[in-house]
Symmetry: C2
Subunit: 507 residues, 2 copies
Amino acid sequence: MQHATKDKFSTLRLRRLGIDTYDEPVVYMRADCHVCRSEGFDAHSRVAIRVNGTTVIATLHVVTSDLLRRNEASLSDSAWTLLGAREGDEIAVSHPEPVESLSDVRAKVYGRRLDDDAIHAIVRDVAGKRYSDIHLSAFITACAGDRLDAAETIALTRAMVVVGERLAWNRAPIVDKHSVGGLPGNRTTPIVVSIAAAAGLTMPKTSSRAITSPAGTADTMETLAPIDLDIPAMRKVVEREGGCIVWGGAMHLSPADDILIRVERPLDLDSEGQMVASILSKKSAAGSTHVVIDMPVGATAKVRDRDSAVSLTRLLSDVGAAVGLQIRVVWTDGAQPVGRRIGPALEAHDVLAVLQGAPGAPADLRQRSLRLAAEILELGGAAAPGAGTTLAQTILDDGRAWRKFQAICEAQGGMRTPPRAPHARAVPAGQAGRIVSIDNRRLARIAKLAGAPSAPAAGLELHAPVGSTVDRGEPLFTVHAEAPGELAYALDYFAARPDIIVVEPHS
Amino acid sequence: MQHATKDKFSTLRLRRLGIDTYDEPVVYMRADCHVCRSEGFDAHSRVAIRVNGTTVIATLHVVTSDLLRRNEASLSDSAWTLLGAREGDEIAVSHPEPVESLSDVRAKVYGRRLDDDAIHAIVRDVAGKRYSDIHLSAFITACAGDRLDAAETIALTRAMVVVGERLAWNRAPIVDKHSVGGLPGNRTTPIVVSIAAAAGLTMPKTSSRAITSPAGTADTMETLAPIDLDIPAMRKVVEREGGCIVWGGAMHLSPADDILIRVERPLDLDSEGQMVASILSKKSAAGSTHVVIDMPVGATAKVRDRDSAVSLTRLLSDVGAAVGLQIRVVWTDGAQPVGRRIGPALEAHDVLAVLQGAPGAPADLRQRSLRLAAEILELGGAAAPGAGTTLAQTILDDGRAWRKFQAICEAQGGMRTPPRAPHARAVPAGQAGRIVSIDNRRLARIAKLAGAPSAPAAGLELHAPVGSTVDRGEPLFTVHAEAPGELAYALDYFAARPDIIVVEPHS
């Protein structure tokens, strides 16, 4: 039953109101317009809207004032862009077709296994934006808590690849890396890509912006070079330099994943199957063949203990093999942040220090980058087994990696200098002693309250890592912010939770 | 961390835009206002808003045009009403406190049992509107598929009662009835209340509007009398007449239930535990002591088979006993609609026919009403065990029930005549034969597409019940609508699914 036909009962004229609802498509209509009356639509109805030949499902918000005339409708900004709408365009509004795959979601809720067809149908409808947030949340919840088995995870990964764009490269191998996340400041990607490309490997890296963290690799990289390249521009960079570090968000690689992640974020549910499908669908769609996965393990990292690490590693390898990816998982220390700085520009300064071999460069970021680069060099065949570490170190120390990074930045549109924040305040230790633990999740929250990642210069600089000793009044960390309100929030949050950094007094 | 203090960083002035988002609280602010900038808010952020001393959590929609000035904010209509806002009021906007009970929801998702404290915390936050739709959906999904045990269901029922208003009556017993639903036209309540009250019992019935059905009892009753009474007005009716049939929606009895039901509707998940908590929390909060539950059982009703009926009956009785309710469950035929008509006013005509003893009154509606009334008369002590049916029949047949119904309608504000629809079309049988089955769910969908329940005169009149025979071209049913567009939808839907009514040709 699709009634999105042009007739006098169902069409209105578009007028832009300018309301940004993020990526939830909303249509605005008057309660007393002929469409609402003849179709029986109420506020919060799900409706099918058709503009310029494209149909999407939107949520109806009813205008009860004179913001719109009776023959007018409007769209939220993202829907306006998605449909290529212009002022005065005709919009047809109708009852949406029933979303048949929701019966598969219900089956999963009731504990049944999903077969390949059911998973493909669900992912197709998710990517087609036919699910409301309520439906997306139900699907994510039904799959969480390890309710997806390996076969379902493989089907989910394949389905997520199939519904999006796919990159193909006329060379092999295509190496890639991914970090499972949960560790602030773990910004190895620009260094690893530079080393791998300098060693002659092809590493077209697409990165994401922060989801729950104070900075994603894309956020950090954006303070160093343009990252919003389309696929042809990205290809040119890779052909010239062997590598790139660009934002993957506009490339429509595994678009269902982007939609699911937006809803997963406020739920904060750990789901092995969905995490694996998310990671590997992006890699497969990007045309990668050999992938090194950095898995920080630690009490406050995303992977909290050895058992979880073993189980997640097995699933990544099995699903990777099923979708044609060679996977190598590297367990790394997840006990505390990497580098000393958290936040887009602050992390960029750490990256530059390592690439330039600066005296104050964070040793942990350097070591992690070398370890991951070594694995990639060996997995990709640029170094013999066991010879990766030496090669990676040589390329970093003799300046080849730094030169390659500058060349990549230039190819992406020109290198930039990361900004510095106008507001900064140091937080002193309340007592003298040894730092015995740091809560990474809450440390990340301080950086976010300070404005990261949307304020690129905002974040946090850690002065006293775990194991170091401080005197009373000596700075534990410095908060950086672009606005005084954000600085105050971040400091208030820590003041209420001083045990984020535990200082054990000298005995 | 609650920062909803009045300071220059966080306050704006309210201006009404007039946008109805149903009951999702939305706040509108400009992207470039000082609050968004200093707080780092983006579109779709969850924010705490404080107006006139009351704080609620809302979703942020960002105005990217000149709809608002930089120092202005607006609220969706329901939030505006909830906060008692006026033009120019000061609104403080801040980061919301973390919703701690979400960790209990996550625990449930991972398969853990919830203890009483966890369930109370969740229900308190749901009733306090601190959950987004995404969170509500996750909670509902985590409890669906029989993942709530009896103890959890008891705790959920108690918690839902505690967070809302509770009615207390200075007499006993207080009898009540509830129908599990899923059966179009099952409009026994006005008849049962009239019989029970005429027999001297106290039956203060609060009913709901339709959730997924073409008419709720409140929708039907509204075509016969005012139903939107507050608690004092309702008390007056009950004191005078012994019974009432009013809308319970504005009485804040089990408000968490209303919020959960809004999200359950688009999910369409069967959850025994939640259904029982929903039914019994409303009854307990209404001060009922003895409750008869009408449970239609049939392939296309809500309770589909005997096993489900047994299990649901046991849970209703156990949970009822735990919260101090005497429950009697009556299994009834769920194979086809009750009465001949579906839709608010159409069902009201059926109700009137039974009460008046009109010659064409639907026998099934009469029989069901008598059966339920008999159970209530016995459970409430107005009739000896086994004597309920005779007493109910006498009260109905001698006109006492009809006089009581009219008295109740007058006491509620005056009796009304149900409207008749301006548009009606009969749908003829495609072939001669015997009606072997009717799909109740899809028949209900036809009535909804015709405009029911928001168009009170809309709906459907069934001419050929299961077991009857029709000639080719003889009408199967007539669709009633208040607008031609709605009539067309309803007819199109049936045209595409003629097997909603299966006609077996004569052999």
